[in-house]
């Protein structure tokens, strides 16, 4: 019987670490990974709440579709995949022109 709060706190910690990574990492690929980390943290929240509502749905409201949280995780993953595809393509394109992966050197707001 794990408290829901634990899952949420874990998710919050992961999310904050992701943001932190975004802030302190210079390598654009690593920053991209930090984004993925944040997405995962959110997924954890989704699943946790899905299970939570699945157990407490009646108590709260009958409007809630208990499993929808997992479906949202599914969507998040799809979006993450698309994002990874495009983002990495962009990174490659940038690397071709700038010859660097350091975001501090890629600040001209153009390719």
């Amino acid at each position: 019987m794990v408290p829901l709060a634990w899952y949420l706190i874990l998710s919050a910690i992961l999310f904050c670490l992701g943001v932190l990574g975004f802030l302190i990492k210079r390598n654009i690929i690593t920053i991209f990974m930090s984004i993925e980390l944040m997405l995962n943290a959110v997924n954890l929240t989704f699943v946790a709440f899905a299970n939570y509502w699945n157990q407490h749905a009646v108590a709260v409201s009958d409007k809630i579709v208990p499993l929808s949280g997992q479906v949202f995780v599914f969507f998040v993953m799809v979006v993450a995949a698309a994002e990874a595809a495009v983002g990495l393509a962009i990174i490659i394109a940038v690397f071709r022109t700038r010859e660097t992966l350091n975001v501090d050197r890629v600040n001209l707001l153009k390719l």
Binding site: F22, I31, D104
Partner: protein, 692 residues
């Protein structure tokens, strides 16, 4: 008959004319322009006639709101039009005389530049004036009030290339502002205390109030309105703009600065008679101001040598008469004089214009003389008008002026002193008018012979130069008989209106033949409802009613002998003035020079209009100028306002420069801002108690 007669058509027709001429007139030739202007004015005159007949059938007053203009809380000001006896008179005068002057202008302005502009302005003036007299609330009236001020400004500065003209326009505008300021305050007081500006509402509210013994609310309001009226109607101390207004083309002087606009103040006071009748003090002030203005302007008129300025001062003086009439609660008499004055003063101006036209732009009377053979028609009509204004029976001026003097003498508001001054003024009036007449039409033509003394320049130089320029712009054209070379009669397009006006200035007075002459003061009867409706109902003021209403005598028996005495007195005085003028300027033309030499100081003082302008300059203009320069221009405008504007500019520039750093293109910085924002949002939500 239709139950709604679309009164808004009356002012809108001239507006349409003004729009057409103003917007497209540049491409039209003069014929089209004048056609548009005349048609629009004539149409509004005709429609006004039809509407008035309808209204008379339907019963007065006719009051109809066309649309809502302003609605703020409980206060609302509609586009409403109001037609009662008073506005009927005004509308007829404005449209009628206005139309005649339009016709005259076609001939007079034929050779001027900016023909279309002139008529556009003139139609615009008609629009605003009609709005003024037809409005059913003070606010709409004020719109017309300001509008005619605007039109007058535009028309005085019509020859805007001349500094003197432009300055005169500005002077008129600014001096009027002072009056309008007071008018506004009066309106604010009305709103504050009666919550409305509609005539009905205000007068209904006022009619419940007793006559004020002391200086009460009504007195304050009345005084404010009165100051506004002094501005518009050129009364002491705000009359100074009117003489300079003569810079404008003569028809403008005739229409705006003699016949119609300057009488707006009188109209306003008569319209507000309900308020004035309840505040004796205000009435006293009005009467005194009118009286002073009358004699003051008359004396000044005596010394002027510029023909138009003489007429200007006489206008001021006559307006003083009207004020005096209103001041003794003889509103109908005032309006009566207003109407007759509209006729003969317009006639005088147009005649003077005709003379100037004939002499190719000469305005100085000392260069004229002996014109009666050369321009007989003009001479005839000018003589008629002069007799009328001098108050010689049976011309129009006699009846109205006699009515006023009679009222001043007998009205409880009036007094003998005022009456005496009025009579003296009548004498002076007749003197300077006949002086003008003799100097212009008798003796031999002194055109170009007399060199004008430097003191004369003080007054006539601008006007002379002024119209001189205009004259030269049209003077020597295709026609060799034109200009200085040959004095010639004006074309019929100008003479026609003169004749009509002449007839008017003979018969206009007959509508008000008082009872003791076995007439029945029809005019007074006609206006009675308006006056009576506004008259005080409290028993203490009951006896004023008949007086205020200007009722014929049968209501309160008075001995016709006294009436006869009064009338004859004024006539005699007028004749005396006539004789003096004849002796000085016809019999012994050299005398005046000696007299002026004898009493040189006084003469100069009068010639320079008692140095009023200079006094104002010293008292108000220079300090204001200094104040504006130092405080408002250097301090407020350059310091605060420009400071604010430039400060805003530089501030936004600086802020932008700072914020630009945020757009570093460094995604980590962006992420930092986002994180910060997220933290702020979460903190705010917690603070708001979300999740508690």
């Amino acid at each position: 008959m239709t139950d709604t007669l679309h009164l808004w058509v009356i002012p809108l027709l001239p507006l349409a004319g003004a729009a057409i001429n103003g917007l497209f007139g540049r491409r039209f030739n003069n014929a089209v322009v004048s056609a548009v202007a005349l048609l629009s004015t004539a149409a509004s005159f005709a429609y006004a006639l039809w509407a008035i007949t309808q209204a008379l059938h339907m019963g007065l007053p006719y009051n109809r709101s066309v649309a809502t203009w302003i609605t703020a809380g409980s206060f609302s000001a509609p586009f409403g039009f109001y037609l009662d006896q008073l506005s009927i008179v005004m509308v007829l005068v404005v449209t009628g005389v206005g139309f005649l002057i339009h016709v005259y202008s076609v001939g007079y302005m034929a050779h001027e530049g900016g023909f279309y502009r002139f008529f556009a302005y003139l139609n615009l003036f008609m629009f605003f004036m009609l709005t003024l007299v037809l409005a059913n609330n003070y606010l709409l009236m004020f719109v017309g009030w300001e509008g005619v001020g605007l039109a007058s400004y535009l028309l005085i500065g019509f020859f805007f290339l001349k500094d003197s003209a432009a300055d005169s326009g500005k002077k008129a505008f600014i001096v009027n502002r002072i009056g309008d300021f007071a008018f506004l305050i009066g309106m604010f007081l009305l709103i504050k205390h009666f919550g409305t500006l509609n005539f009905d509402g205000v007068f209904k509210a006022v009619s419940g109030m007793p006559v004020e013994a002391g200086w009460g609310l009504l007195t304050i309001i009345a005084l404010c309105l009165m100051v506004g009226a002094t501005g518009k109607s050129a009364q002491v101390p705000l009359y100074v703009w009117l003489p300079d207004a003569m810079e404008g083309p003569t028809p403008v002087s005739a229409l705006i600065h003699a016949a119609t606009m300057v009488t707006a103040g009188i109209y306003m006071i008569a319209r507000s008679n309900a308020i004035f009748s309840r505040s004796p003090h205000a009435l006293e002030v009005v009467a005194i101001i009118g009286c002073i203005t009358a004699i003051f302007a008359a004396t000044m008129g005596m010394a002027q040598t510029d023909i138009k300025r003489v007429l200007a001062y006489s206008t001021v003086s006559q307006l003083g008469y009207m004020f005096l009439a209103c001041g003794v609660a003889a509103y109908s008499a005032g309006i009566f004089h207003l109407m007759t004055h509209a006729f003969f003063k317009a006639l005088l101006f147009l005649g003077a214009g005709s003379v100037i036209h004939a002499l190719g732009g000469e305005q100085d009377m000392r260069r004229m003389g002996g014109l009666w053979k050369k321009i007989p028609w003009t001479h005839a009509v000018m003589l008629t008008a002069t007799l009328a204004i001098a108050g010689i029976p049976p011309f129009a001026g006699f009846f109205s002026k006699d009515e006023i003097l009679g009222q001043v003498f007998s009205s409880p508001h009036g007094s003998k002193v005022l009456w005496v001054i009025g009579v003296i003024t009548a004498g002076l009036t007749s003197f300077y008018m006949f002086r003008l007449y003799f100097m212009t039409f008798h003796g031999e033509l002194r055109l170009g012979k007399v060199d004008i003394g430097e003191e004369a320049h003080a007054t006539t130089a601008p006007a002379h130069a002024g119209h001189g320029a205009a004259a030269h712009s049209h003077g020597h054209g295709d026609d060799p008989a034109h200009g200085h070379g040959g004095v010639h009669e004006s074309p019929w397009v100008m003479l026609g209106p003169l004749v009509v006006l002449a007839i008017g200035s003979i018969v206009a007075g007959w509508v008000g033949i008082p009872a003791f002459m076995h007439g029945s003061n029809n005019f007074g009867q006609f206006l009675a409802p308006v006056i009576k409706s506004g008259a005080p109902t409290s028993p203490t003021a009951m006896e004023h009613v008949s007086e205020a209403a200007g009722q014929p005598r049968e209501e309160q028996p008075e001995n016709p002998g006294e009436e006869w005495a009064l009338a004859s007195t004024s006539v005699v005085v007028a004749l005396i003035g006539l004789l003096i003028a004849w002796y000085l300027y016809k019999k012994r033309p050299e005398l005046p020079a000696r007299i002026t030499a004898r009493m040189h100081g006084i003469y100069l003082t009068v010639l320079h209009k008692y140095y009023i302008d200079e006094g104002y300059g010293l008292l108000f203009v220079k300090p204001l100028l200094a104040l504006s320069t130092v405080v408002f221009w250097r301090g407020v405008d350059q310091g605060i306002i420009d400071g604010l504007v430039n400060g805003a500019g530089s501030a936004s520039k600086g802020i932008g420069g700072e914020l630009r750093r945020m757009q570093s293109g460094n995604i980590r910085s962006y992420a930092a801002w986002v994180a910060l924002g997220g933290a702020a949002v979460i903190a705010y939500m917690i603070w708001m108690g979300v999740g508690k």
